[in-house]
Structures are given as structure tokens and as C-alpha cells.
Symmetry: C2
Subunit: 229 residues, 2 copies
Amino acid sequence: MSHSYAYARPALAADVVLFGAAEDELEVLLIERGGAPFLGCPALPGGFVRVDEDLEAAVRRELAEEAGVSPGWLQQLQTFGRVDRDPRERVVTVAYWGLVRRVDHRPVAGTDARSARWHRLDSLPALAFDHREIVDVALRRLQVRIRYEPVGFELLPEEFPLSRLQGLYETILRRPLDKRNFRRKVLALDILAEVGRKEEGVAWRPAQLFRFDRERYQQALEKGVLFDL
Amino acid sequence: MSHSYAYARPALAADVVLFGAAEDELEVLLIERGGAPFLGCPALPGGFVRVDEDLEAAVRRELAEEAGVSPGWLQQLQTFGRVDRDPRERVVTVAYWGLVRRVDHRPVAGTDARSARWHRLDSLPALAFDHREIVDVALRRLQVRIRYEPVGFELLPEEFPLSRLQGLYETILRRPLDKRNFRRKVLALDILAEVGRKEEGVAWRPAQLFRFDRERYQQALEKGVLFDL
DNA sequence: CCAAAAGTGTTTATGATACACCCATGT
DNA sequence: ACATGGGTGTATCATAAACACTTTTGG
């Protein structure tokens, strides 16, 4: 196989900002670095991309190896390539961001040696490399995206009351929303299906449960109704 | 310097979709490939990223070398990494998109051996690699971005009549806009400065010339007025 | 005086926002 | 009975969209 130039090549990595939703705050999955540099420092899951592996596949592999999780939603975020972002050598990283239902992935035991843990976004520790910057970009992306694509559901349990959905939006957008207006808008989209059951085990009036209905969402798209919250 | 793994590494390239505005249609800058594969085939300007060079710097260098142009606006688009996108070997490319004032770069003589030429977007030839896909993604990005960021001005001469600006939006968005509504909205943003001179050499009533006023735009941003056309 | 584009307001419809009370349930 | 979140409707305001004629200039 011919090489187009003989000089040293930048190394190519892929990292991922995986978001999960705790009751009242967003969380990010971090691993603890098992090697130099930044030994023991929290960092984003990720690693080098293999020659025969697609970028997204690399991210999914790393997530499985390092934390045993599989995101329900995953998309490219941005590529970070500052020359000095890795003190060892030139490493360009293709960052992804993903969403996962925390409830499906209870303990997140790292199958790898490195320990993976959820960290609240409002009290992140110092991160390795430029990973803090990557998290910030991912958060901004989430804040924009959640308003015009139905991605928030990937953070919630399959069935949820509307107030939980509203709480999620308030957490992500960091501002209070009006209950009546929120309900009206969400229901008008006609992309939720009433489950027909109610919350259980709460000490007050139990709420109706809903689930996101992909089929209806597709129909709404075709009708030109666009998601906008 | 230690390497984190000994296996073959993907190669890293950077390519750019550079848009220019002709009178009535968008154009894209393409070079003709000087080597295998796709010899002689039109392709996006770009090349391999050097180890000691930032991604954006690589793009600017390639644009200067291959086409002698310097974009007024340049931003990362997306990274394309399908395993088989280059038949020779694994090449991951960080794609950028840029805007340039055609009038500032008259002939675009390739200082490099390869010939660079502007091609109308409505009649693109077949492109090398997955470059057509990259162009499509860039166009969609431009169509979205131009509505809420004042980037269109980078495609126009420094001074322009409002009808030219409207024509540009119509070309990019591919739909007609109402003259009165467009003018009202643009002027309400308060980011244009009247030059005080009029068009010359036209065979009809000459229009007032305007220019984009970056300072006013910053002030508008701080006041919370957001660009939206 | 003709051709061609420049320039200018008002009306209507639609969607966004603000706002307060009663209901159902568990303890 | 009481505490707690669940659930509901209306009035107002702001923004977007539709729409046609007069003006200015060069030829």
C-alpha cells in the first residue's frame, strides 16, 4: 500500500460525551485514566481509531469496553485538533455525543480496568486534555438540539409522566417553563402515546404515563409539522 | 516519543467546500486531481494534515497552494471517515466549509499545478471520493446557518444594494422572498450601514448601497437582538 | 415616454406568553 | 383533612405573511 507522504502522521482518536439524566440534573460519563499522561485523572471515554473501523464504531467499542454502556442515540459533535492538545504527540480527536437511559444501565461497571462513573454536570472535576472544552461544546449542542429534535426521550425511561419531560427540559435549558404551555405544545405535536396506565408508588395524585411514538413522529414529519419546544 | 499502539494508523486529511456567489447561482471551488486515484477528476481542495499544523491552518494552506484564495469565513463542517471512502488506504477527512467574495479573487489561478475552477452548484460534475456527499452536507449547513448568522455578507461585495442581498438569500434558500418583508426585517436588525452612494452604470433607477457593519452587529448581539431572516 | 428595478404601509392570521384554580390520591 | 403534584382554558401581545402601487433613472 502506497503512502501519500512519508512524514509522521497525526494520530486519530475518537472520544464521546455521553449524557444521562439523574432526577434533577444532567450527568456525564467519565472514566479514570489508567495511563500517562493525566494518570488517574477523569476523562472522556475514548481511544484511538483502528484502521479498519468506522468512527462511530470506534466510539461504540470504546463505550462498551470502558463502561459497558450502549447509547440509544449517538452523533458526531466536532473534531478537536489543536496541535498541543495532547502533550505526548499530535492527536486529533473526533468527538461524539450521545444520550443514554440511565435506568437501563444501572451500575456501569467498567468491564475494562478503568472505572467509569457518572458525574453531575454542575460539579465536574478537572478533566484531562481539552476534555472540558469538549463537554462544553456538547452541552451547548444538546441545548440547541433538544428544542427541535425529539432526542430528549432517549434520556428518559420508556414511559414517563409529562412533568418528568418538562423537568428534563428545564434542567437542560436551565430555565423554568410554564406547565400549561409546555403540555399544550408537546401534546399538539401528536408524537406521544398515552400508555393508559398511571404512575405508581407516589404519595400524591398519580400522573398519566406517556411514551414517545416514533411512528407518529415520522407521520408528523411527513405532514410538515416540525418539532419545536 | 512513545506511540500508544503499534498498528497502522488512519491517515488524516482536511478538505474544504468553498462557496462563492455568481450573479444568480452559488458556485463551489473545485480542483482537478493531479494523481491517482481519480486522476483528472474534479475534487474538493484539500490534502493531508501535517503533524505540526492545526486543522484550520491545513485548510488555509491547501486553499492558498491549490487555488490562491483566502476565505473570509471558514468553519469546520463535519468529519467523514467511512472505512472505504478512499480506495488506496484509510483516510479520515475533516471537512471545512468557507465563504469567499468572488470579486476579490478574480481569476483563481492555481499557483499549484492543479487547476482550480469555480463550478455552478446546479450543474456539478461527478466528484472524486465522497466529495459530493460533503458538498451536499455543506450546502445544507449554509442554508440553515445563513438564516441566523450574518454570514451571507461574506459572499457579497463590500457594498451592495438590498436587492442583491435578497437575491443571494433566494438563491441559497431556493425560494422567492417578499421584497417588503425582507427589507423590513433586514433593516430592523440595524446591522447595515447606508454607504450614502448609489449604484452606478445601471440602466434604471440606481439603488442605495449598504455595507455590513460588524460593530453594530456586536451591539445588537449584546442587546439580545438576534439575527433571523 | 418607455422599460426596469427601487422603494414604501397596512391588514390579517398565527403562534407565543402570561396567568390561577380545582382535582385526585396517599397518608 | 391536608399536603402534594396533576391537570385544565382564556385573553393578550408580538411576529410573520400577504399584498400593489408610485418613483426614479437611462435609453
